[in-house]
């Protein structure tokens, strides 16, 4: 039996002008469990809180009902007051008689009546409240960053600088990501590699950072502060601790006709390769699908030339298990496949390329040594057509592309156009666009320079068709402003392909129980206020895995994610929300329905032995909620057919008691 104290607040005249507070405190005196009821001008004031504390002492209260403003306002205040008075904070309930009563009803009679009913409902609930104690869990002081592009690199560096251990898992043989493939960056036109590679070196040399390159996350278990992760280190057939990255093996390798991924297949690499000169870690990797030795045991040249003895044809995939307190997803993006956009003749002509391919063509370390040459005949192009929004901003029912704007294309196309006109003033450059979107610091100025200073022809309209004819690409397009059809004989067509999340993201989201939108971008915990956190506690988002963004935005988000991780790892233990789901094992059927609606993966199943009344032992499958993962939404409670699952602080009995009190 509870001993409940009721405290009705006037809130100056905010409540008292439309609610007869005296009548309310008087009427609630007779409710079940109530031993003390009073009213006061400002319950939230120090004097008001002292009133609660002294009443607790004097009347040996076990529960408190405050009829006042919204619990969203002062629930925490009154819980603190209860705690300092020696009562469990969760024995406090608020009846919202300001925002949801006195402020919305003008008539004092109905306002007072309603306030009494709301008070009764809160009392009915408190009668069934139980003290709740938040669970504690320790924090493993190490972070995992999945993805080694600029987002992952920056996040890892920032976390490591704060003194915490960080592991980066990168599926490619080197970190660096997409930024390593870029030539210049907008709007400053500084060289991408010049600003990225020093950071890559920092990562490699940082004593707090480990890099697992050519590796993937293969399983994630656990919860915030306590993730158990298995990392699959794929066999690269080279002992990376011994390899010096001298490149002798690469030179001698007889198998040299493998399309080079780093240059998007525009040139070739050998079967044993180092993706690029500044790769980190700078060690060789053998492509098992191309290596003669691995395929049929005939070759072994690389092992012979390797003075360090790093080649190991027997190497196997290795699984590493590690504990982490926080996980940052930085899985990045890829341009979408151009397969469905055959109107642009991408598959028919080598001179129709994507913007990322264009980056490699203009990059000094690219397949042409930075000379802008057509892939088909290595001739200098004199007319270049850029097509914007290829696969971006498509209609809802389009099966070809994405509905969203890829955000970066307008700017990089302006950059490309400008670079071409700068290096090759004899080249005519056309850009076809739907809109030019340039929000960002110095972005619009940049675009206007392309038009005004560099004479790039910006044409509002779409390209309908590209037809390869002889050496030319016949471009048919419409000019929406002049309202006419255009026919351009181009030498090179560059498609601003939409970007999409990396394919590995979906599987990873499942492992992390992190949610995604329909485009497979990770969802943030709150789009405005928690943009770098996933709704799954302990999982953070960095870079384009969350949505299209450019480098500065990615770096800012990486830093923000790092600061969230640091704040988490800085704690020695985590206090949970005690209002979590709990399964009554006596009546749980083990049917798995709750597990399937849980958005957090907080529910698991165990087989447990039960002693039956006849002393026999019965083994039953039952649900177990991990209170550290559960966020307390209650989805499971309604799904449970037997009613075994209940939510602490919002139990079915409590809610029904409120319903009953209101309907009395």
């Amino acid at each position: 039996m509870q001993r409940i104290g009721v405290f009705v607040c006037w809130c100056g005249s905010n409540i008292a002008s439309t609610v007869d507070v005296e009548r309310v405190s008087e009427a609630l005196k007779n409710e079940q469990g109530v031993v003390f009821s009073t009213n006061y001008q400002y319950m939230c004031s120090q004097a008001g809180q002292d009133l609660i504390k002294s009443a607790v002492k004097e009347h040996r209260l076990t529960g408190i009902v405050v009829c006042s403003c919204s619990p969203r306002m002062h629930e925490a205040t009154f819980r603190k007051a209860a705690r300092s008075a020696g009562i469990n904070p969760y024995m406090v309930e608020i009846a919202n008689i300001r925002e949801q009563c006195s402020w919305v009803h003008k008539d004092i009679i109905t306002g007072t009546e309603k306030a009494i009913i709301l008070g009764k409902a809160a009392i009915a609930k408190v009668n069934l409240n139980a003290p709740l104690i938040p669970g504690e869990s320790p924090v493993t002081k190490r972070a995992l960053v999945i993805g080694g592009g600029i987002a992952g690199i920056q996040t890892a560096l920032d976390i490591a600088e704060a003194g915490f251990l960080v592991d980066i898992v990168e599926k490619k043989p080197t970190i660096g990501g997409k930024m390593a493939q870029l030539d210049k960056t907008f709007p400053t036109l500084d060289c991408s590699a010049c600003i990225l590679t020093p950071k890559m070196v920092d990562v490699a040399q940082h004593e707090k950072i480990r890099i697992f390159s050519y590796s993937e996350v293969s399983s994630v278990k656990g919860f915030v502060g306590n993730f158990d992760v298995t990392i699959k280190k794929k066999a690269r057939f080279v002992n990376e601790n011994i390899c010096t990255g001298c490149g002798a093996c690469v030179e001698k390798c007889p198998q040299k006709k493998i399309p080079n991924e780093f240059n998007l297949g525009m040139d070739n690499r050998s079967a044993i390769y180092i993706p690029f000169a500044q790769a980190v870690p700078k060690v060789a990797t053998i492509d098992p699908n191309a290596c003669n030795m691995l395929k049929n045991g005939k070759c072994g040249l690389c092992a012979r030339v390797c003075t360090a003895g790093a080649i190991d044809y027997t190497q196997k995939d290795e699984y590493i298990e590690e504990k982490y307190g926080a996980i940052v997803v930085a899985t990045g993006f890829n341009p979408i496949s151009m397969e469905k956009f055959d109107e642009y003749a991408y598959s028919q002509s080598r001179d129709v390329i994507t913007s990322l391919e264009f980056e490699r063509l203009t990059n000094a370390a690219g397949p042409t040594g930075g000379k802008l040459l057509r892939p088909s005949d290595n001739k200098h192009p004199h007319t270049i057509v850029f097509v914007q929004c290829v696969g971006s901003r498509c209609s809802v029912d389009s099966e070809k592309g994405k509905e969203y704007c890829s955000k970066i294309c307008c700017m990089y196309t302006a950059k490309h156009a400008m670079l071409v006109r700068d290096k090759y003033p004899d080249t005519e450059v056309y850009v076809f666009y739907i809109d030019v979107r340039t929000p960002g610091k110095a972005f619009d100025e940049f675009y206007r320079r392309a038009v005004e200073e560099y004479g790039v022809h910006y044409i509002k309209g779409m390209v309908g068709k590209v037809v390869p004819e002889g050496e030319k690409l016949k471009v048919q397009a419409s000019d929406l402003i002049e309202n006419k059809q255009l026919h351009i004989d181009a030498d090179l067509v560059v498609l601003a392909a939409a970007i999409e999340p990396d394919k590995s993201a979906r599987g990873l989201a499942t492992m992390l129980t992190a949610s995604m939108d329909t485009n497979d971008f990770f969802t943030e915990a709150h789009p405005k206020l928690r943009p770098v956190e996933s709704p799954t506690a302990g999982v953070f988002l960095s870079g384009t895995c969350q949505g299209p963004k450019d480098i500065p935005e990615t770096v800012s988000q990486a830093g923000a994610a790092a600061s969230k991780v640091i704040a988490l790892l800085n704690k020695d233990k985590l206090l949970g929300n005690p209002c979590v789901a709990h399964s009554n094992e006596e009546i749980c059927n083990g049917c798995s329905q709750c597990e399937r609606v849980c958005p957090y993966g907080a529910i698991s199943y165990i087989n447990k032995e039960f002693k039956m009344p006849d002393r026999s032992i019965k083994t039953r499958r039952i649900a177990v909620v991990n209170p550290a993962i559960c966020q307390g939404c209650g989805a499971c409670t309604v799904t449970c057919p037997s009613g075994a699952m209940d939510l602490k602080g919002f139990t079915s009995k409590q809610i029904m008691a409120e319903v009953d009190a209101i309907c009395r």
Binding site: P535, Q631, C663
Partner: protein
């Protein structure tokens, strides 16, 4: 003038993160709606068991409304999607059993939609007032 004197009893389940905050906002902006509406706070609309809705009717409620975050905005990412399916089937069943379909409603109200909260409640109360007392579902024995 019997009809005008009828004051309906409305139970509103509001999720803590959006609709309850929306109701608070209606208060902050002094947007009035009838006092017949009594709000029960739940963490998420998906905490509302169809049994609670039936319980309210059994105990004499004339209308039950469930308010949650807009689909896609759930604080718990997917709670209101489950609510939507659960209540769709429940309401359809109540309608099938001949309970006036106007007595049940689901409305998505964000924390920013104080005005929507007030107008929703005004509308709901006026519909229920027109319908009159909920005779078909009330459990007389449970009334004191």
């Amino acid at each position: 003038m019997q009809v005008n004197e009828f004051k309906p009893l409305i139970v509103a389940f509001c999720c803590n993160w959006c609709s309850y905050a929306g109701a608070d906002l209606a208060g902050n902006n002094r947007l009035s709606y009838p006092a017949d509406v009594k709000i029960i706070r739940v963490p998420c609309s998906c905490r509302v068991n169809p049994m609670f809705v039936l319980r309210a009717f059994q105990r004499g409620a004339d209308g039950v409304i469930i308010c949650g975050c807009h689909p896609g905005d759930c604080h718990y990412t997917s709670g209101n999607y489950y609510t939507r399916r659960r209540m769709t089937l429940l309401f359809s069943m109540l309608d099938y059993l001949g309970i006036e379909k106007e007595r049940t409603r689901v409305e998505w109200v964000s924390a920013a939609e104080g005005a929507k909260f007030a107008s929703t409640m005004n509308d709901f109360v006026s519909k229920i007032t027109q319908l009159g007392k909920n005779k078909r579902l009330e459990d007389l024995r449970c009334k004191k």
